[in-house]
Symmetry: D2
Subunit: 338 residues, 4 copies
């Protein structure tokens, strides 16, 4: 961390700062230039709160040299991490294809969708049992009954299953039935939930919040990593934008940017990013071309009967066609689903 | 709700839609125009998922006539609600002045800040015991010890106290010590937490999320209201913006817009909105001038020793001066603190 | 400017940088810290392109110590500028009340609106003769005929007039008829137009672009100032936001932020910022409370016949009531219109 | 267009609306439902200003059935347009590879860069002679001298050339030297410039403004088309975002969305979108995978000496590698550069 002082900073103010830095068990190197004094801080930079430093009188600017996350950084782990979910690998050239309905609605529906996506080549089955809905009057998910259906169908088709966790109190029951957890965009900064998920022994998909920067996303991943769970897969699913032509703003450059900062796998979710089935295929291809380690697509065989988010699902036959093309795009980059 | 069909929609598709509407116990009025067929839907519109309607083949657009929230709407409650927190009233011409440190750090510090803000005229004391921090390595709050300090200091200075809840599992202990709950911006769509807070018998400040629309905020309020808690105060605290000149983007027009949609009181938080003490006074005045029912300002007597968010706090003497001016602005609009 | 180098930067790379800085006739002070080397650059910082510095191999970060604008800065001119438009003063405690229709539509309409706003207390009359319309099929303004009407009506009611310039080729004719020029939001970075307006001998309202930062706005003002025209009034008129509840996002904190950076007067335009007549009054009060040096409001006596932007105008009687309240808000801050 | 009236709208108000619609030479079909009256408007919808309709008392909402642009729409021209620039075709399976430096700096530099990009496979050479710079103190371009260099180098390497136009007064001289015009993001709503470019007999790249919606972009294209120039290529180059990890926010879904609305070719510019050479390749691949009809990349053989935008250029060898991979991605979709 480099602290740039104002031109009129006094020796007393500099002393207050260096005392504070010493109290944090770090070293301060004061460099008195001809027009500005600069303090270089050496030590565990991630544990300093740059806001606090900015509160000292006389500080003009604070520039981080190292990122505020440690375990998630490429410095800490220069090789790409490979996260395993059952037999499916994510990262390091292995691509995930996560597919399934938004909500688990019934065993029949889940079974038919699972059969279809597995046949196409999906390697992780998704389905929501606890749904974070913007309206208290909307369907809130089947709960444990849904988890049981998901488990049974996953076993039947031999495909690992992922489901969303919205409440720390459900952690045990979800871990009992699911192979992978998902933390949704609206809970990306629910630090209580991140802490609990960090203690679980299950891989996690962490979705980027709608107003989260890439650094915010990595800080949330850091919560999970710091509590012991190393199997985190990041997911770009669209951020808040000003154009209603798509539901969210698909930030595919964030995938490429993340690859320069972290070893964690990154997947994309063009279903939530666009909210438009007609744009999902193009955005899925774009995600893999940008370097994503997998794709998450909602699939439903009767969108108009879906209990949630029908308009952002592909039909099984559309999914099948999209996946075939995705495999070809992946091949250009020497990557494979499986 | 008005459903606009595509020009080539078939009678069979129209039938599927009207059957679906009937199954929701609502009435469909089909109006066949010369170039477009339109279906008017009569009934409890808030309980329909417009996304689901959009999933039907043949639907071009869905226009809501009524808002998706009910209890929060001005239609449901045309007079402004007045929320009471101890002796303090918020709404209907009564203004709240919520002040205090970001975090509770020690009894001594809390005492001195409380003495100062009470003397200036604040009518609610704030202090965080459970802190949602972006870094797992940052100070996470004093927990129950902090709550006890807050209670003791509030009692000593005879001022009601508000504190943030971040975990549904802490609801009972927080309700034991605090007069008012706060749901932070990052938890605005933590529907599990909203549901629990909706069952509590305490007034709540609900802060707007950084990517939340005004309607999203009202839907989150609806969760609390629908679960039985009618004492909700909304808070504009800045949304995500592209200009780093301020920490967030202070959306003062949202205050005025909310007043056209809801009976719930609305306060503003220029501390979080700007992250700059030098801008807090101007933005506080602007909030009251725009029609806010109160202001939330962080105050700290030693920002450089603050364990969180030091750079966005006013010093007690700055707060005192700001409050004096705020009283004059309020007076122009016939409103009073107290 | 402070250049922070990467930890592995070579002496040769440092030499390339210091040579480059010397070639710009500035001085480089190299400070070799224990973990990072830093170069302080002394000289006319506004003339350095920080992007170019970032392109040098070995550069980690570039931190400006001085802003990239000079003439617009508070350093260059610590007292607030007062811009005069006929008898009307803007800045330094003097508030502008700019009012009138979006477009000049006919002499009769312009006359009746001018009579009304002048009677209420407006001190600058607005009206557009050249309209930047998003559709090529929309009314594009009356051109010179409109300018003549505006001049005649301004003279009749003894009120200075402002009109928008959209084409550098119209500069002479507009200067012949108007007392003040306006550069619209969509032309805020039309540097050709800014350069020409900078050569004119007329005060200018420069509106903030929809995606412009506060610094971008000041850089555009710098264009006008650098070409010789010192009479620039900045205008916050709403930036692009994600919530369609208002047309744009009214950034009232930017007014307060500008006051910490520049001596130029700053006015607000709640008409364009909100696009909703019902929110204009509240946002006008908020602007003055935040420290604005004036307000710009569209007024039309028959919005449904307006040839452009009818939905964002106040009726004359609404304007009258709003202005009366504005005067009271201004009085709290010791400011006056007139 | 469908006009939804408020529940308490009077017959008189309905009459005022239908009279107005008749005066526009369109037909109004009034449909009195049991709870709302709706007016269907038949005629040339693009010529109606929906804002004006909203200004009528009694109007609740206005829903467009047809887009406000006509010539740019897929309805008007269901087959993809192919724009020809010299021998290079853009659209309908033909991909453009536009490459070159940000600014033309000297004949030597232009020659060496042109030689390199042509050898790699670029089919259009770019170079700026008139530069829209945010600072009045930055290099503003070589002007006519630059145009002459561009022409000479383009002729030498037998590659068509494109350059930016920033001032309508330069149209003739630019058309004399260049094969294609470019309207930059900051001028996307400079309607004066669009109108003049619409009268030119040269193909045009129209870049999306930083706060422009997809519809705004199409409306700006409509200006050019409506004035007679049918050879418009749209360009997504990043919009304003909140995360400084990239310079702008690359909206690759907009490419896919545009393809559902317009026949015009769409290219992407990952140089400006990201401002980071390390992300340009990934974002270029993503653009083609999403369906773009070409890519625009800045290339410079000595970025640290570039007079503008050095940090967003690829070196010739990086460009060569990127282009080789782009060809493979294009091949997956059956498209070719050439």
């Amino acid at each position: 961390m480099i602290i740039i002082l104002k031109s009129d900073t006094t020796e007393e103010q500099i002393g207050a700062l260096t005392d504070h830095i010493a109290s944090l068990e770090m070293q301060a190197h004061v460099s008195r230039g001809t027009f500005r004094t600069i303090i270089g801080v050496i030590g565990d930079e991630a544990s300093i709160d740059s806001d606090q430093i900015k509160s000292f009188t006389g500080v003009s600017d604070v520039v981080r040299v190292l990122p505020p996350y440690k375990l998630a950084s490429l410095e800490a782990h220069p090789q790409p991490s490979v996260v395993e979910v059952g037999k499916t690998k994510i990262g390091g050239g292995h691509l995930a294809m996560v597919a399934g309905p938004c909500s688990i609605e019934s065993e029949e529906r889940m079974d038919s969708i699972a059969a279809a996506v597995k046949a196409s080549g999906a390697n992780i089955l998704r389905g929501g049992a606890y749904k974070p809905r913007t309206s208290p009057y909307s369907f809130q998910g089947m709960g444990v009954e849904g988890l049981k259906i998901l488990r049974a169908v996953g076993d039947k088709y031999d495909i690992p299953v992922v489901t969303e966790i919205t409440d720390a109190r459900n952690l045990d029951v979800i871990c009992e039935y699911a192979d992978m957890l998902q933390v949704g965009a609206r809970n990306m900064q629910n630090f209580v939930l991140l802490t609990e998920v960090g203690k679980a022994n299950k891989p996690v998909i962490l979705k980027r919040g709608m107003s989260a920067t890439v650094q915010d996303l990595l800080m949330s991943a850091e919560y999970i990593l710091a509590h012991g769970n190393q199997n985190v897969v990041l997911c770009e699913r669209g951020i808040k934008g000003f154009d209603s032509v798509t539901r969210n703003l698909y930030d595919v450059a964030a995938v490429a940017a993340l690859k320069t900062l972290t070893h964690l796998p990154v997947i994309v979710d063009p279903s939530h990013a666009t909210g438009r089935p007609d744009l999902i295929p193009a955005c899925a291809y774009a995600g893999v071309a940008a370097g994503a380690d997998g794709v998450h697509i909602e699939v439903h065989d009767c969108p108009e009967k879906a209990l949630s988010d029908g308009p952002q699902a592909l039909l099984p036959e559309q999914f099948d066609e999209t996946f075939k093309q995705l495999v070809k795009v992946a091949d250009v980059f020497g990557k494979t689903f499986g």
